[in-house]
């Protein structure tokens, strides 16, 4: 009901505006009815653009033709369809009006259909991502759990025949796997901090060096033998972010570097200041990344179907979570090989940017 009313009001306004404009025009340049018809057609296109359905356009064109006849052609202020050649003008204008109105309406409908398709597509895409993540998680959780259960039961069952060293080895193994599980769960928990619908995060202004140092501290607690060379710019950088999440990203990247580089050289972690972005680098001097995997390394399922999946356990999920976090911050994360190993870097915008870009 209100839609009909809106359509009616808009149509009426369009007609009135066109008529007033045409009156002005005919006052200054009388006898030029072709231009007046064009003014009406222009107003028609604009009206159809802002109304829904075919009816407003049709209504507009009929009224417009009558108006032109009544106001702007001789005899003025009188309806007269008997003028020589007038039926042709009449039909031409009606035809043009109907055609434009139909075309505009069609275009609008097509745009709507495309937008709906897009929405549907992005939703299935999201669903697919979620399913992939879930699959990867279950796979990744099962492996260490199996090993924990196995190790602990073998400890309990054959306690008497195991040597002290073997017992120690078993318990150490259990502890390693449990720590790995914890790491994993923390990663998953951090994702829940990202707002589901809008994938936005709650940002506060944080000092970059504090985040970096806290990440290094936690890393050292977890992997005491890790050697990392870290540096930050001399000037203090305070940028908006969810600090816990960015710390998680840094720890994931550093841990990845330590585990996968297979190198004794210390890992380089440094921060670069730019005009609009701050860039965090994690650089290792190891074996580098297989070029085939570089393209989809952040997809979260890059290892599924890979024969060496267990040696890469967790890498997929950790990195896909990094990507999710950085994207939610409007930043960019990337991986590349340099001449002596692999490098991961991510950027964070220095100021709050609007969501449109």
């Amino acid at each position: 009901m209100s839609k009909t009313l809106k359509n009616f009001i808009l149509t009426f306004c369009g007609l009135a505006a066109a008529t007033i404009f045409a009156m002005f025009f005919s006052h200054f340049a009388p006898g030029n009815s072709g231009n007046i018809a064009l003014i009406y057609i222009l107003a028609l296109i604009i009206t159809v653009r802002y109304t829904d359905g075919y009816w407003p356009g049709l209504f507009f064109s009929v009224i417009a033709v009558i108006c032109v006849n009544y106001i702007f052609t001789y005899p003025y202020y009188e309806l007269n369809f008997t003028l020589s050649g007038y039926p042709v003008t009449f039909l031409e204008m009606l035809g043009a009006a109907l055609l434009t109105s139909t075309m505009t309406t069609n275009m609008k409908q097509q745009a709507r259909v495309i937008a709906e398709k897009d929405k549907l597509l992005s939703e299935t895409e999201k669903e697919k991502m979620r399913a992939n993540l879930l699959r990867a998680v279950s796979h990744d959780l099962r492996t260490p759990l199996t090993s924990i259960i196995g190790a602990s039961s073998s400890y309990l069952e054959s306690r008497d025949i195991l040597t002290e060293d073997e017992k120690n080895a078993i318990v150490i193994h259990i502890q390693e796997d449990a720590n790995w599980l914890l790491n994993m769960v923390e990663n998953l928990l951090s994702v829940t901090r990202i707002h589901n619908q809008s994938s936005k995060v709650k940002k506060t202004y944080e000092s970059v060096e504090e985040i970096v140092s806290a990440a290094i501290l936690r890393l050292k607690k977890r992997l005491p033998e890790a050697s990392v060379t870290v540096s930050v710019p001399d000037e203090l950088l305070i940028i908006p972010m969810d600090a816990i999440l960015i710390e998680q990203v840094l720890i994931n990247l550093l841990e990845n570097a330590i585990i996968h580089a297979q190198s004794a050289k210390p890992i380089l972690c440094y921060v670069e200041d730019g005009p609009h972005y701050v860039t965090f680098h994690v650089k290792d001097f190891g074996v580098g990344i297989d070029p085939d995997r570089l393209t989809n390394i952040f997809d979260g399922n890059s290892y599924i179907g890979n024969s060496e999946s267990d040696s890469n356990k967790g890498m997929g999920i950790g990195l896909s979570i990094c990507k999710t976090i950085i994207t939610a911050h409007n930043g960019i994360i990337n991986a590349q090989n340099h001449s002596q190993g692999a490098e991961f870097y991510f950027t964070l915008p220095k100021e709050e940017v609007s969501y449109e870009s």
Binding site: Y205, E206, S207, E209, I211, S213, A214, L236, I244, C269
Partner: protein
């Protein structure tokens, strides 16, 4: 040897409870435990423990309320046990009067260190007879409260008034985490703007004077979303 310290553990997860009790006992503490807040509170009132370990996620009562309740009648040190992602809850607990927090999961050595620090601080606070400490010493850093002099490896380092105030407040509470809000209200007064940008700037300056690598600090550590913690005083 000093008499055994008595620790009260309030924790609803039986597995975690067992593990902590075993660890504490093997480290020569006397341990009592409660599996919910109400029995924990009555145990605290009856036993007068030297320290309370409190899990924030209890089934029958909000952990923050437990802290407030205990603080009504006792200054016993309280260490809160909580999960990592709940920074807001930790800050609330600290502001409600908890002395420190420890993040789940924790290693036994970390737990013991926190307990030792908290117990030492409470003995100092309780025994006014002890000569008041007038020096803070940690690694190369020495803070002389009487002379207002701070040295690193023997070299005098100059700090502004505000920086000195921040540093001494952290040093006097060394080993304990100080929330942003309590630091701001101590240095700039209770009505200061709680926007902590100015605190960040001052901390960055202190770090540049104190630490050889600000990204890998030795003296003052950041607890993200909560506050700062200064390394323990060795001069105790």
């Amino acid at each position: 040897m000093s008499p055994k310290h008595e620790i009260l553990l309030i924790e609803d997860e039986r597995n975690i409870c067992n593990f902590i009790v075993t660890t504490l006992k093997s480290n020569d503490y006397k341990v009592n435990y409660a599996l919910n807040a109400s029995s924990g509170l009555s145990l605290a009132a009856a036993g007068c423990p030297d320290l309370i370990l409190l899990d924030l996620g209890l089934p029958d009562m909000d952990g923050i309320d437990v802290i407030r309740n205990i603080r009504n009648w006792s200054n016993v040190p309280i260490i809160v046990i909580s999960a990592r992602t709940q920074e807001k809850e930790k800050v609330e607990a600290l502001d409600a009067g908890a002395d420190d927090y420890i993040t789940k999961p924790f290693g036994t050595s970390e737990l013991m260190a926190r307990i030792r620090t908290a117990l030492r601080r409470s003995t100092i606070n309780n025994n006014m007879l002890l000569p008041t400490q007038n020096q803070y010493v940690a690694k190369d850093l020495v803070i002389d409260y009487e002379k207002h002099i701070i040295t690193i490896a023997g070299n005098i380092v100059h700090f502004t008034q505000i920086e000195y105030k921040i540093l001494t407040y952290l040093a006097q509470n060394a080993g304990k985490v100080i929330t942003y809000d309590s630091l701001i209200s101590h240095v700039w007064g209770p009505f200061a703007d709680s926007n902590n940008r100015i605190l960040r700037v001052n901390m960055a300056n202190i770090r540049r004077k104190l630490e050889s690598n600000p990204a890998d600090p030795q003296y003052i550590f950041t607890e993200i979303g909560i506050g700062y913690r200064m390394i323990d005083n060795e001069n105790l």
